[in-house]
């Protein structure tokens, strides 16, 4: 056999080995069995969940206790319920479990899960009764002027980056800049990027305020974190100097809460309504060997003084809870209290 032929056949053998050795090169870590699914979920939270340091939970004991109930012949619904039992003590609104192909709905790990409806808030009903004209920006804001020259801004989400948020909010303030007071309504709706709320808050600051610290997991141990990053609100753009009220409820979650952290450090800001949801950290999705999905919080978010509100929420300065019949009748006691404070 010549050198050329030897080399050629060696090459063909190499190619065939590349094609056929995928099992050797790419070995899955967990099996798609009830035990494999439960173990994958426990391990993923063990290594990636960022809230263990601020929550009094013995994660190892949780495994020891609950894994006894895992059987190879259990149904998907039984397995889902066992996974919910594992995650429930975290009391984390960013934790959720997404089933596939079983008779269960998405499970949310928050107080929100205990509400059978959005009982205390409906933006459309309320705006019809309190605003003569509602204007909207391209993405984030609905706004108008209420009786007594009070500005009202509802924030749909915080999905824009900081510079786009500032640009869009400046459009709002062109019309509301001369009002006697301003209401931010951050009840319900979606979260988004923390930098977006930081951008809005910069239009209210008279000085630099240290309002938040964040750190995320960088290793498998419960106390493996990146160095804390300090977040500041810096005065920027045209400042709004009049009093501001933040309206909150149990659905005020995530970037809505970090926006509240940025605003509440300023002396002209008052929070009215209900306690917020208590889920500040960024959260990421994951998946299990059977295809189910989940979300977990990846870090520790505190206010500028190092106080964590994870799982607790931020209590308002003035506690007012709407009742569902009132809201259906078009009455918003939380909003009316805000108007009273600002007048």
């Amino acid at each position: 056999m010549t050198f050329r032929n030897t080399s050629f056949f060696a090459l063909i053998a190499l190619v065939l080995s590349c094609v056929s050795c995928e099992q050797l090169l790419l070995t899955p870590e967990y099996e798609n069995t009830p035990q494999g699914v439960f173990d994958a979920l426990w391990n993923s939270f063990d290594q990636h969940y960022g809230g263990f340091m601020v929550k009094d939970i013995n994660w190892d004991s949780m495994y020891t206790t609950l894994s006894k109930d895992i059987r190879e012949d259990m149904s998907g619904e039984e397995l889902f319920d066992a996974c919910v039992s594992l995650l429930s003590p975290l009391k984390d609104p960013h934790v959720l479990l997404v089933p596939m192909d079983i008779d269960r709905e998405i499970w949310y790990g928050s107080r929100k899960a205990k509400l059978d409806t959005l009982q205390d808030f409906d933006k459309d009903i309320l705006q019809e009764n309190y605003l003569s004209e509602v204007k909207t920006t391209d993405n984030m804001f609905e706004y108008g002027i209420m009786e007594g020259n009070i500005g009202y801004v509802y924030i749909h989400h915080f999905a824009l980056n900081e510079s786009d948020t500032k640009k869009e909010f400046d459009e709002v303030m062109e019309e509301l800049g001369s009002t006697a007071g301003l209401i931010f309504d951050i009840r319900g709706g979606f979260g988004g990027e923390d930098v977006s709320g930081k951008g809005i808050a910069s239009r209210f600051a008279d000085q630099s305020y240290h309002y938040m610290n964040t750190r995320v997991k960088n290793g498998p141990e419960h106390d493996d974190f990146t160095p804390a990053v300090q977040w500041f609100v810096e005065p920027e753009g045209t400042r709004y100097e009049k009093p501001v009220v933040m309206l909150t409820n149990l659905q005020t979650l995530s970037a809505r809460e970090t926006f509240l952290l940025a605003m509440r450090v300023m002396p002209q800001v008052t929070q009215i309504g209900d306690t917020t949801a208590g889920g500040f950290s960024n959260a990421n999705p994951g998946e299990l060997p059977n295809g189910w999905g989940y979300y977990l919080s990846v870090g520790e978010w505190t206010d500028g003084n190092g106080i964590s509100y994870e799982g607790k929420g931020i209590a308002p300065d003035i506690l007012i809870q709407n009742r569902r019949p009132d809201v259906l009748a078009g009455k918003d006691e939380v909003l009316e209290k805000a108007l009273e404070v600002l007048r």
Binding site: D116, K198, V216, R324
Partner: protein, 262 residues
């Protein structure tokens, strides 16, 4: 759209640079890319992509061998053992107690994109056998764990090119092995959390981009092209990737293609 412009520009540049060269030859190719990704740090599920591969290739062989290769794979990626996942999301009840629902599909039709470009130069060590170096860049973007997943690598590789007479035609063998590369992967928490966040990707470049050597990154790349007489060639391109940050990542890609030589 921005990505498409970049791709078209790269194709244009490659053809423009080398098409005028009298002794070089350039070609276009099209084929099938079967890629498998196992990233247990992100997901316990192994993913398999079926993709269409298109590309262009240039090579010039004299005392010095030079080559340029660009390839783009676009297709669909799903977990091997589960396949396409769909679900109906039922929203919380509104104040009237009514609930809305909507259907979602995980990794719909186009969910796998991989672009690679390399420029190599080699010096003859024996007739039709060359050893040298290549600059290579590669970006893979797909969906894993119900979220974006990416791998970016740019660096310097050792390169070998050999040409063998086989039957009436000849077989080209090209091998590249990265020696030093800048790799971008998500950080451990897969989270962009910085207060000066402008884009997730740039944050990952800042917080998790690393210069690595052969002991941290093993990424052999083998390309075999058989040229019978005529303008058409057939080929195989195989890659195996092994990288450890932020957790073990494995990628195995097997591609077959038909090439038209100008």
């Amino acid at each position: 759209m921005k990505n498409l412009i970049v791709v078209c520009s790269l194709l244009g540049i490659s053809m423009g640079l080398f098409a005028q060269s009298p002794s070089g030859k350039w070609s276009i190719n099209m084929g099938y890319d079967h890629a498998q990704i196992n990233d247990p740090f992100s997901s316990p599920l192994m993913y398999r992509a079926h993709a269409i591969k298109v590309g262009t290739h240039y090579q010039k062989e004299s005392d010095v061998f030079t080559s340029f290769d660009f390839a783009l794979s676009i297709g669909n990626s799903q977990p091997v053992n589960i396949g396409q996942r769909t679900a109906t999301i039922i929203e919380d009840p509104d104040i009237y107690g009514e609930r809305e629902s909507f259907d979602v599909s995980v990794n719909p039709l186009l969910s796998f994109v991989r672009a690679r470009a390399s420029y190599g130069i080699g010096w003859e060590i024996a007739p039709h056998h060359f050893l040298g170096a290549a600059l290579k860049a590669e970006h893979t973007y797909t969906g894993i764990r119900l979220d974006d997943w990416f791998y970016t690598e740019a660096g310097l590789s050792a390169m070998y090119h050999g040409s063998f007479d086989v039957g009436a035609g000849n077989l080209d063998l090209d091998v590249q092995l990265p020696l030093l590369a800048f790799v971008v992967r998500p950080n451990y928490s897969s989270d962009a959390y910085l207060p000066e966040l402008s884009s997730y990707y740039l944050t990952y470049v800042k917080t998790a981009g690393k210069v690595v050597g052969l002991h941290q990154l093993q990424h052999p790349d083998i390309r075999l092209t058989y040229h019978p007489s005529g303008n058409f060639s057939v080929g195989y391109h195989g890659e195996y990737l092994r990288y450890q940050e932020p957790g073990p990542v494995r990628l195995l890609s097997n591609q077959v293609f038909i090439q038209y030589n100008f």
